[in-house]
């Protein structure tokens, strides 16, 4: 087993860690940094609960090695609110009751944030394409679509 020193920026903060080669980014976030907002729902790229932004792009953190993020930028759900103010999407998720058990919510927010960054006014099909890999067993997804559209109408995620 090899251990690797890495330098990674997480939610704007520089972190220096030593990670074993076989540690996933998901394990690093949750077990090493106690950033437990990112969830483990399958460890197999299927559920999307572990979705984070890697250099601005959403990825399944369960399918990325921690050592691979050396020198890169990671954003997790904990990094979405700025200076204590919720992002437009976070606020909209609350207002539309797009949250039930909340386990899918961090991944949903990350995927939605990435969507609005590349497409500020997505139609319903674009939202579906972007969130296809984020499973939710509670909400039936409708409120999540509404919340995203609401933010899009208001001019994009803050």
């Amino acid at each position: 087993m090899s251990v690797h020193p890495i330098a990674v920026t997480i939610n704007g903060k520089a972190e220096y860690l030593e990670v074993p080669a076989h540690m996933t980014l998901l394990q690093m976030l949750r077990d090493r940094l106690a950033l437990t907002g990112t969830k483990n729902g399958c460890e197999a790229g299927e559920c999307g609960a572990c979705t984070v932004l890697l250099d601005g792009q959403p990825v399944n953190s369960c399918l990325v090695l921690a050592v691979e993020v050396d020198g890169r930028q990671v954003v997790t759900v904990e990094g979405l609110a700025q200076d204590g103010t919720l992002s437009g999407l976070q606020q909209a998720f609350i207002e539309h009751n797009a949250v039930q058990c909340g386990f899918c919510t961090p991944g949903m927010l990350i995927s939605s944030q990435a969507l609005l960054a590349r497409n500020p006014s997505p139609d319903e099909d674009a939202i579906k394409e972007a969130l296809l890999g984020n499973l939710c067993r509670c909400t039936g997804y409708g409120r999540i679509i509404q919340a995203i559209q609401d933010v899009a109408r208001g001019g994009g995620a803050s």
Binding site: R30, E43, E78, Q100, C101, F103, Y141, G142, R143
Partner: protein, 774 residues
């Protein structure tokens, strides 16, 4: 009822802020520091086998391994209604995945490696997977000791067979009624086992301290039931076992009762002083936690030429899996509700729970009702067609109505199912049948109705405490859980309304912790708004009375002239006003400060239904079988691609009679989420090979609805016929919202294609093949 300030308003969820920021703590998020150990389970690769020998020596030799626990360490049986299993398999494995041993190590990785080193010698036995095969006299016996198991008085196992429960319902005379029927439809309907698939897999962390104090942190719908069952099984005084239940990432029944949590506690006992974390992988979640039972239903229903239902005969065979400790009560619930939401004068019903060598069947959203409605609701459509009546009209005529006697002899409590039918037929434009969008597509509409009672022992209790803080914010203590359904929000609304304080002043004291939280049976059966709602109302009412008594004394007025409005005591008589701040903790000084009165305000309350009666063993008849029923209707509009068999659901319209919507928008979110869950369930199945091994224990091959699969439109309506003993008339709706979706889809498919599907799951392949012949 006017003048409500919080109840009936769609206030925002009390837990939403935590959940959008990642601050909400779930069981796997708790931090235990470097002393944390990890467990992995050794599982049977055989569906049915005797365990000859477990040799852990190689596993124990691995550095980092701390203990290996086997069935010998946990010989005492455990179970909710029927104590039919041990925490680790003792002498026999009854399904693929049955836990045979548990390994504790300093990391999950080492525990996993060690688990692979535990050598288990099995002697394979013939296995049985289908409940109808399992009831045959020559079927392999899965629980030869069934007669020795402890069982609650209302469940009737049949030792020497695989039948763990047989519920009989006899009403009127079906034999005499059949000749009078103008139309009779008979069918056999099958449903596979399916899984809850909460996005959060099961996690438990247990700590057995040297003092004998035991703590269990777990994602749980049932902290108190878990305390009770685990304490009994492992011989822990109830007062020493503390179950702490943080946020739950979806339950749907899968986190009710006890599943893998007990193993975590048994493993922690082997390494006292160290917390042990046990978590299920997604693959284990599918087959090693619990599942919805399979069902084979034989149903025959007849009506006269005026479309009045006359007779119904059913036999339900639930494939309960390797343990039926919880599932027995599903068969019972299916038995006493076996007609579905219909008035049928002559009924013969037999409902069986049957052991099979498959994943453990247990509570799942709907608790037997989705299973039985699948067949009933299709036959009702067929009967309507036979007597040439519109299916909606047929249902309006025959459905249960307030005050009418239902199958168990009980009088139907107040509901309005006809209003639900009216709402959904209107929303779906029932009378219109628009054409499909393309020549190769066919379009159809379907309707289905449902009922469901909370299925539970006759006397499940709820309790609540209300404590005021100096600034008059209130802590409400409950033992109920929020699984996402919104319980904490609704209970806070009930407390605020009763106390006369703003909703924003209420805090729910969570996580639920059996050491501090008041008793709650379980968060199941759609009973929380109703039962805990009543308890919170009682506790808040108690606190309110205490406050009013102090202020009345202070003002020399009659408490009856006082009220609490918006956080202050007001008098209608003297128009005086006393803010709650400070006085709810420090009390009020007597005139001239000659002493004080009052003091910290604590209210307590409880609720327990006391009126449910026994049902006759031979007939299932009794005065009051259940506390109440929630009813509803759904209508579906869909389109089928006849060249592929793929279905697009264009719209689902739902309406439920919730008595009183304490939070209307939260009711709608249940209705919407339930419609998609119901749609998804029609396509789901746990698939096993001929040896009982899983074929699709992952989210790629066990597909649940994604955002791309949802109907184009999801419509919800709320009907409010107050329930006699509900808070402001409220009754539950969390489970009902998916009960009849699958048969509504089947009825719409028939409308579109003229083909009936009696077996779930549906699939594009099955639909295509049915259309084009095999």
């Amino acid at each position: 009822m006017s003048g409500l300030s919080t109840v009936g308003k769609s206030v925002l969820r009390i837990d939403a802020h935590d959940k959008v920021t990642g601050a909400a703590v779930y069981a796997d998020d708790l931090q235990f520091g470097p002393g944390l150990y990890y467990g992995r389970l050794v599982r049977s690769p055989h569906a049915h086998a005797l365990i000859i020998k477990v040799d852990a020596s190689r596993a124990l030799a691995l550095p980092g391994v701390k203990a290996v626990v086997t069935g010998r360490d946990t010989p005492t049986r455990i179970g909710l209604y029927l104590k039919d299993r041990t925490i680790f398999a003792l002498d026999r494995a009854r399904m693929v995945g049955d836990p045979v041993a548990g390994v504790v190590a300093t990391s999950e990785e080492i525990a996993e490696e060690a688990a692979r080193l535990v050598e288990v010698k099995y002697e394979e036995l013939p296995a049985v997977f289908d409940p109808v095969v399992a009831i045959q006299p020559d079927a392999p016996l899965i629980h030869p000791d069934l007669g020795e198991y402890e069982v609650v008085p209302f469940i009737f196992p049949q030792p020497g067979t695989n039948i763990s429960e047989h519920f009989k319902l006899r009403r009127g005379d079906v034999e005499a009624a059949w000749p009078r029927c103008a139309a009779i439809i008979e069918g056999t309907f099958r449903l596979p086992p399916i899984q809850h698939v909460p996005i959060e897999p099961h996690v438990a962390v247990a700590l057995w301290e040297l003092s004998g104090q035991v703590s269990l942190w777990t994602c749980s719908q049932s902290p108190f039931a878990q305390r009770d069952l685990i304490a009994q099984s492992l011989g822990i005084p109830h007062g020493n076992l503390r179950v702490i239940a943080p946020y739950v990432g979806g339950g749907f029944g899968g986190k009710a009762g006890v599943s893998m949590e007990a193993a975590a506690v048994a493993m922690a006992r082997a390494v006292k002083g160290h917390p042990v974390k046990l978590r299920m992988t997604r693959e284990e979640e599918f087959i090693c936690t619990t599942a919805r039972q399979s069902l084979v239903a034989n149903i025959m229903i007849g009506c006269d030429d005026q479309a009045n239902l006359l007779a119904m005969e059913v036999a339900y065979y639930f494939g309960g899996g390797s343990s039926n400790e919880y599932g027995v009560n599903i068969a019972r619930a299916a038995g006493y509700s076996c007609t579905g939401p219909y008035l049928v004068p002559n009924v013969k019903g037999d409902s069986y729970c049957v052991y099979t060598n498959t994943p453990i069947g247990s509570a799942m959203r709907g608790f037997g009702m989705p299973e039985i409605h699948w067949g009933i609701e299709q036959i009702m459509d067929q009967l309507a067609e036979k007597v040439a009546m519109d299916p909606a009209e047929f249902r309006r005529r025959n459905c249960v109505k307030t005050g009418r006697t239902i199958l168990t002899g009980m009088e139907m409590p107040a509901i309005d199912l006809v209003a639900c039918i009216d709402k959904v037929t209107q929303a779906i434009q029932w009378e219109k049948r628009p054409p499909a969008s393309a020549p190769h597509k066919k379009r159809g509409k379907g309707l289905a109705i449902m009922w469901k009672a909370p299925a539970m022992p006759p006397n499940p209790g709820s309790s609540a405490m209300v404590r005021f803080n100096e600034d008059a914010t209130v802590n409400v203590e409950i033992g109920a859980q929020d699984l996402g359904q919104g319980a904490f929000t609704v209970l806070a609304q009930i407390a605020a309304e009763t106390l006369g304080v703003p909703y924003e002043w209420v805090r729910i004291s969570v996580p639920v912790d059996t050491k501090y939280s008041p008793y709650e049976w379980q968060t199941v059966a759609s009973r929380i708004t109703w039962s805990v709602g009543n308890a919170v109302r009682a506790a808040a009412g108690d606190a309110r009375q205490k406050i009013l008594a102090v202020v009345a004394e202070h003002w020399h007025e009659d408490p009856a002239d006082l009220d609490i409005r918006d956080g202050a005591v007001v008098s209608f008589k003297s128009e005086r006003e006393q803010p709650l701040q400070n006085m709810v903790v420090y009390g009020l000084p007597n005139d001239d400060f000659e002493g004080w009165k009052g003091g910290p305000v604590v209210g307590s309350g409880k609720f327990m239904p006391t009126y449910v009666t026994n049902l006759d063993f031979e007939t299932g008849q009794g005065t009051r079988a259940v506390v109440h029923y929630t009813v509803g209707a759904q209508a579906v509009d869909l389109e089928v691609d006849t060249e592929t068999g793929q279905v697009e659901v264009l719209k689902i319209a739902s309406a439920y009679d919730v008595g009183k919507a304490i939070n209307p928008d939260l009711v709608l979110t249940q209705i919407e989420g339930g419609a998609v869950h119901g749609l998804s369930s029609a396509y789901e199945a746990i698939r096993l090979d001929a040896q009982g091994r899983p074929l699709n224990a992952n989210l790629v091959d066990y597909r649940i609805a994604t955002i791309a699969d949802i109907p184009r439109e999801i419509h919800g309506d709320i009907v409010e016929t107050p329930l006699e003993d509900g808070p402001w008339g409220a009754r539950g709706v969390g489970e009902h919202v998916m009960v009849q979706t699958a048969p509504a889809i089947a009825n719409a498919l028939y409308d579109a294609l003229g083909v009936r599907f009696s077996e779930l799951p549906l699939s594009a392949e099955k639909i295509f093949m049915a259309l084009h012949g095999s």
